[in-house]
Subunit: 144 residues, 2 copies
């Protein structure tokens, strides 16, 4: 199961210290450059208001199975957290598509580091992807 980069995510974030706490809260407009050989795959993408991006978390530690979150000091399994450290370090973010210009997509709402390799783009569908009342118990308790 070998992945190939289909493009590069350009952001103003050079180190993990620069990144916003969550991509959804990022107000920066960022550019995704799709490699020329994959540009045909973008046909009609401008008809999508929101995109799911999958990308490779380059600096992640793929040996970590339990971790604590900035929100609390308890230890959780990595599959119960959104930590970048996990066996297969794939980042996931729902973003807003601002515009497409050729092989470049201008998007909003991502916290990836600059030069992050892009793996996949999927159109976001409210009908199949939006759950209004999902719960993450440990997270809810820490917000109180």
């Amino acid at each position: 199961m070998e992945l190939k980069p289909i493009g590069i995510i350009h952001t103003p974030y050079r180190t993990t210290w620069d990144t916003p706490f969550q991509g959804r809260s990022s107000i920066e407009t960022c550019e995704i450059e799709i490699f020329k050989e994959y540009e045909d795959g973008l046909k009609d993408i401008d008809q999508c208001s929101h995109l799911i991006l999958l990308y490779w978390l380059d600096g992640a530690d793929n040996r970590v199975l339990q971790t604590h979150n900035p929100f609390d000091t308890d230890i959780h399994g990595v599959f119960a957290t959104r930590s970048p450290n996990r066996p297969n370090p794939i980042g996931f973010q729902v973003t807003e598509l601002i515009e497409r210009k050729g092989s470049v997509l201008r998007i909003k709402g991502i916290d990836a580091l600059d030069k992050t390799p892009l793996i996949d783009i999927k159109p976001y569908s409210s009908g199949i992807d939006a759950i209004g009342d999902a719960k993450i118990g440990w997270f809810e308790r820490n917000r109180r």
Copy 2:
């Protein structure tokens, strides 16, 4: 960028003809078996009501860049569709967690084929992952 399977998705769907049109509409309860060496990563996952699953679409054709959808006859770029055929054939589905029993997760809402290799599990957060009014232009037009 090499992936390793962290488990196996068991479903009643043996061929693509058996699968429901969209996982979200599947009423079957399916079992995900997490390999023993990754079981520590499941700590506290039972506190999550919904899970994002990433999995490997084994039979997909990774050379396809444009395709048409069962919904219509127009050709779209694969990044504007949810087709399994794409440069990096990673499947994505938001599912409901019914229960965890040791290294097995019982879930609802997936259309993957039986024995699909699981790549990652992330907790679904309504706050960062739910967009209520996303639009996919070509899809909306075909529903009218």
